[in-house]
Symmetry: C2
Subunit: 355 residues, 2 copies
Amino acid sequence: MTFKRFLNEAISPWMKEDGPESNIVLSSRIRLARNLKEYVFPTLASKEQQQAVIHTIKEAVSQDATEQAGPLEMLMMNELQPVEKRVLVEKHLISPHLAERSKEGAVLLNEDESVSVMINEEDHIRIQCLYPGLQLQKALKRASSIDDWIEAKADFAFDEERGYLTSCPTNVGTGLRASVMMHLPALVLTKKISRLIPAVNQLGLAVRGIYGEGTEAQGNIFQISNQMTLGKLEEDMAEDLTDVVQQVIQQEESARKQLYDTLKLQLEDRVYRSYGILSNSRIIPSNEAAQCLSDVRLGIDLNMISGLSKSILNELMILTQPGFLQQYAGESLNAEERDIRRAALIRERLHFENR
Amino acid sequence: MTFKRFLNEAISPWMKEDGPESNIVLSSRIRLARNLKEYVFPTLASKEQQQAVIHTIKEAVSQDATEQAGPLEMLMMNELQPVEKRVLVEKHLISPHLAERSKEGAVLLNEDESVSVMINEEDHIRIQCLYPGLQLQKALKRASSIDDWIEAKADFAFDEERGYLTSCPTNVGTGLRASVMMHLPALVLTKKISRLIPAVNQLGLAVRGIYGEGTEAQGNIFQISNQMTLGKLEEDMAEDLTDVVQQVIQQEESARKQLYDTLKLQLEDRVYRSYGILSNSRIIPSNEAAQCLSDVRLGIDLNMISGLSKSILNELMILTQPGFLQQYAGESLNAEERDIRRAALIRERLHFENR
């Protein structure tokens, strides 16, 4: 099956490239929520109605290829094993909602996994574009072109006054959610993060953990996104978020400099101890692994440690999530077994990198 | 200066050999306390009287070489720097008392440092013989022969009823202190040590840390020695201690087996994490280093880790003591500087071992 490639590689091809500000910004994401005019919205639709939606979209997208994303492949949720869906969630290609709660869900993915279009999630269509580093405008441009391409073949639910209509009122208007994934270890170490988060919230932005709402900031990775989808142009929303992200980058950079200038050896000790634990432990819980990976990545960014690729944090953070570990093991694993597999996988990966 | 060799090598040549039970017993030591009949005992003697004692002994030992220990070299305490004396203490070649509190102290050392005769410590003469592993009888035989050799040239303070007379009444009689240094990590991990120590005490034996009375059991190294010096033949004292040590060995072995059988992976995780910390940290306090070294040595004993020599625990425990670190650095170091040097030294040593 061709979709296996989406499951076997921990990091998507688009992630392997370096983007602007990639020392701190891991990725940028634009999501557009759309619904088809003639169909009941997914939250109220029956299974048959949802199937009809899939059929319609499938017809539409199979007419031609997108200019900007290449051919799209459709994966049906009900044809995937739970662990396979979990892997797609861990790669941020689908949402937990689509994996677990959708009656008749599907996703369209392009070759390098930078474009994913979820069908029958909370809305009929959720277009998602991902870019490495800080590239919200670029992601928005691509998402908009895919939006246009689909809209040319299907009527979207649109109101002159309210804009695009969505299942949840918080998405009405532009249907846009822009978000960036930031690695902020120095702000966490210096405890400045506790003042930063409320300040960012006051600007109408949300700060969350690596797997979105209600998740922890494992590995000092934070997701910053807009809360409001109304009252501004899409470009302005992306621009405003970019401005705030730039400020957070500056704060993280100055915290890194401060640590480097005043506690260089202590920081180096921390970075290398974490490296020592990652390359030697036989049992490692996900929180500890994430913290150690964050330390090592910081060490790479500060040129304290060499011979390791920058993508190690992104890659191992995803690779050592429960779904991936089980996919990799080919069997379901309990928490203890996962901690053992996680340790083995990290050791192998670091050993491979060292040769 | 020839005595430099005593200062530069962390482990004495005799330590490099393997003795019986060396998985658990690091070394055996016999010490005999003797005093010269015609001189005031050191605790009450003036500086001049102590000088006379040194002179007498020097004359006596320079007449011929010992048959069993080879030529002896004399080091005068007042010709050594504080850090040099500290190094000799860390190597267990002299006592802290001789290094710091003796008015006119000296030590005679043989080539492989297995024999050390302290002069003007608490007693005029303290003969010490060291052997790797559990070899108390052998050490006693050698100490007795050196005792005989000195006694042939000098009159010892001896009372028909009380035996050899000493400054402290606890040493009167045989003047014998027999002790073994044991590595007991499994008894510590399983907390069985807390029941074992009182049981050993009840047999009239003392259990102490690596640097004797009042010191901590750094690195899970315990010193077990006799308390009484009266009422038994020397051979029986050594035999009785050997019997108890054999029992402690059995207990440690069974605790190791229990850990291996029930918690092998957890133990392996601990051993390798400690190895990872030792080979990567940039700042390491002595307690943490000792604990990690103990873990690694246990891992070597249990064949969990390979390519490392068994003597790594002994060697690095001594090499990373404050005196040695400063001797090695060629300057005096504060606690923080020592933690940095210690980490560097351990890393170098492990790196060297790995090649």
